[in-house]
């Protein structure tokens, strides 16, 4: 089966993709929209999806055959059923009419950003207060979102809003696909602790979105959102795997090279700390390898969800040790080593806070993997408008 599939994809790519010039056959420059249209219509972008929606109804394993063949020819467009968050959410949770209107468009082009977190709703995401008020067949949106990447380029945003303040917090939420390019949407970059600006604040005042663009059902957005975030967590888990990839055959790890460069490998106490830091990284990489093997055999692995939390200890630990190795040199950003150490120390919080803090992650691991009981949320059953706020 997989051999026949591989051959089919090989043949298709031979006819359509010029892998020497990295563009479609018979074109002069790479035209992303045009190429993605071809891939989507051939069913190679989302092979696991239904035939009604650009898919081939193939298994994950068969989908990997397609992805690998595309990668071999350096052809883009594969894996949209794994990585294209907006499209995945729409496919899973959207109405047939909405899919007909937007799904193809989302697959072939516009970046879709995530309008989830708010200044008052981080770890407690169901506490969002961005308001959507019905006005004819549209909704009027007012509120503020934060930690949104790609907000400047995005044409759509996956928007979580509150549509009912009189019911408990999980029950009054509606999930929209929201057009970003309109009056009343203002994007401001955030100056991050690392001096980078990957994320933005998005201010929404009296912007509009059609009723047709609700994902799932009115006031039942929390459920649709859970489906969306599951895809995101899976992608972050894979990202972790990729970043931590250090086989014992690769060249020496950066921390070891730094310690060698500053002649700190003769100190027994420091050796213990460096060895442990390297071990943490290697152990996580071995566990993620196990996760990949388990997924191949069983289709799933709970080990994957340990990766992100493990990575926090690794990144904070390595950054701290880099500082220790440099000594007072770390105070002065004149050398590349000092700049890296200081940058990495700040950047480590991206992993331990972003996408769910380590503390939230521990709750998830304890509750969903170990099966420990949920903590009591005092606000779970009371009307949203009665929930205490502060800070």
């Amino acid at each position: 089966m997989s051999d026949a599939l591989r051959e089919e994809v090989e043949n298709w790519l031979q006819r359509h993709w010029d892998s020497d010039n990295l563009r479609a056959v018979d074109t002069e420059i790479y035209d992303e929209k045009r190429w993605l249209s071809e891939v989507v219509d051939a069913g190679y972008a989302t092979p696991t999806w239904s035939k009604a929606w650009f898919g081939r109804e193939l298994s994950q394993r068969e989908a990997r055959v397609i992805e690998k063949t595309f990668q071999k020819h350096r052809a883009p467009g594969w894996g949209k059923d794994r990585f294209s968050l907006g499209a995945i959410t729409l496919y899973k949770m959207g109405s047939e009419a909405l899919k007909a209107e937007l799904l193809r468009e989302l697959l072939i082009g516009p970046i879709c950003c995530l309008l989830y977190s708010e200044p008052g709703a981080g770890s407690d995401l169901a506490g969002i207060r961005t308001r959507a008020v019905k006005d004819g067949d549209e909704f009027i949106i007012n509120g503020q979102k934060v930690w949104t990447s790609n907000a400047q380029e995005a044409e759509y945003g996956m928007l979580l809003t509150r549509t009912d303040f009189d019911v408990p917090k999980h029950q009054g939420i509606t999930f929209f696909i929201f057009p970003m390019k309109q009056e009343g949407v203002e994007v401001r970059p955030i100056n991050q602790i690392t001096r980078e600006s990957e994320f933005n604040e998005v201010f929404i005042s009296n912007a509009r979105v059609s009723e047709r663009y609700i994902i799932g059902d009115y006031n039942k957005g929390w459920k649709s959102f859970q489906a969306a975030i599951a895809s995101e967590r899976l992608i972050m888990g894979m990202g972790v795997t990729a970043r931590s990839g250090m086989s014992s055959h690769s060249k020496a790890p950066a921390l070891l090279r730094l310690a060698h460069k500053y002649d700190r490998l003769k100190e027994p106490a420091l050796r213990q700390e460096i060895a442990q830091a390297l071990a943490y990284r290697q152990l996580n990489s071995l566990t993620m390898q196990r996760a990949v093997e388990e997924i191949k055999t069983n289709g799933m692995s709970s080990l994957m969800s340990l990766g992100k939390l493990s990575m926090s200890r690794i990144q904070h630990g390595e950054a701290r040790l880099s500082g220790t190795i440099l000594g007072p040199r770390v105070l002065v950003n004149d050398t590349e080593d000092a700049r890296h150490a200081n940058f990495d120390a700040a950047k480590a919080y991206m992993n331990s806070i972003g996408g769910g803090t380590d503390q939230i992650q521990r709750n998830i691991i304890a509750e969903r993997i170990l099966g420990l009981p949920r903590s009591n949320d005092v606000d779970r059953e009371i009307p949203f408008k009665e929930i205490k706020t502060g800070g």
Binding site: A252, L283, L303, Q359, N363, L372, S375
Partner: protein, 369 residues
């Protein structure tokens, strides 16, 4: 070509696990703890009937020709029951040393005796330092056509029940390994009053004890044997850590305070989540090291060091936190947590200290520079 399929390995482990369940569960273990030898001959006999004695020994000597992957898997089950006995010395370390012996008749004699269940081996690999990677404190001399051993070995496990012992000794400015019949004259065993009653350790003094040389075996083979021993021990530690972790999680779900299961409190569930990472890290390390050694990979020393200190330290950490998470109930001799916790401390020093292994791991890493 692997001798065991995944299914075969699983079937063997299941059988071993049932045997331990029937004959070596906690009540039986507690009876064993107050015996002098700490060794259950009937369990050993059953293990022998299952063919476990020859797990690492080739069919030409009557064994089943398994690899360290099978050993690691078996040891996880042994660990879950806190099994104590001369299994690692007899069935893991001794075959590794004897298989490297250039005297084929001696190798055949000993390996055959192991697979037949008639030989129980101790291995005297260290002196008072407890470290197998340091020079031994026994001297071998060749006098009147025979080898004589004199000196002290320490932390020798199950020496009192063994009928054979492999002794690591200094010889002619180098190192060698010698086979000693435990009935020879000149051997004096002093059993240690170990804090962990699930393992028996003795000091062994030798006064001109007649021995046979395990020809062709020196420092290098001993280093390989140490790696193999560490990975077997690592497997045991993973199995034991998983068992006490499961007991603890179950308790967090059932014990109620303030009208709710204590496992709903974040102060406890966060510790549990962190311990799961330590447990799975240990499991990854042990399994990977076993595969590296079975495949003869270049990084097998690196991986066995990593498995050695990770599994030892994480086992100790998991058992220590298990007591704390239980609270008062585990501050008793009746509760099993302390048995695991004490056994975990043994593991941090048996063969080699965790700190030494961590340093050796870094030294292996430095070769990449």
């Amino acid at each position: 070509m692997e001798a065991f399929s995944v299914e075969d390995r699983q079937a063997m482990c299941d059988t071993f696990s049932r045997l331990l369940q029937d004959m070596a569960d906690e009540p039986k273990l507690r009876q064993l703890l107050i015996t002098e030898s700490g060794f259950d001959q009937s369990v050993w006999g059953k293990m022998s009937q299952l063919g476990l004695m020859g797990i690492l020994i080739g069919p030409e000597h009557g064994g089943v020709g398994g690899s360290l992957v099978e050993v690691e898997a078996l040891m996880e089950h042994a660990g879950a029951y806190l099994y104590g006995g001369p299994f690692i010395s007899t069935c893991v370390i001794a075959p590794t040393i004897l298989s490297a012996c250039s005297d084929e008749s001696l190798a055949e004699e000993c390996l055959r005796a192991i697979t037949e269940g008639s030989a129980i081996f101790s291995v005297a690999g260290c002196g008072s330092s407890g470290a197998w990677d340091l020079p031994p404190e026994v001297q071998a001399v060749f006098v009147d056509q025979s080898w004589l051993l004199t000196g002290t070995a320490d932390f020798v496990s199950y020496a009192a029940v063994a009928n054979q012992c492999l002794v690591y000794a200094n010889v002619d400015g180098g190192k060698g390994v010698f086979l000693v019949d435990m009935n020879e004259n000149g051997i004096a065993l002093t059993p240690h009053n170990t804090d962990d009653a699930t393992i028996r350790l003795s000091s062994m003094s030798l006064d001109a004890v007649v021995a046979r040389q395990v020809a062709g075996v020196g420092e290098e083979v001993m280093e390989e044997a140490l790696q193999v021993a560490l990975v077997a021990l690592a497997g045991e530690q993973v199995g034991a850590a998983r068992r006490i972790f499961e007991i603890t999680i179950e308790y967090l779900k059932t014990r109620h305070q303030f009208g709710q299961p204590i496992g709903s409190f974040q102060a406890l569930k966060h510790i549990a989540a962190d311990l799961l990472i330590e447990l799975e890290s240990a499991s990854s390390a042990a399994q990977h090291a076993a595969r590296a050694i079975a495949a003869g990979s270049d990084d097998r020393k690196l991986m066995s060091c990593l498995a050695g200190f990770t599994c030892a330290d994480n086992y100790r950490k998991i058992t220590a936190d298990a007591i704390q998470l239980h609270g008062g109930i585990a501050y008793t001799m009746e509760h099993p947590a302390h048995l695991f916790w004490r056994r975990a401390q043994t593991g941090q020093w048996l063969y080699c200290s965790s700190d030494t292994l961590r340093d050796n791991y870094l030294a292996e890493m430095e070769k990449m520079l």
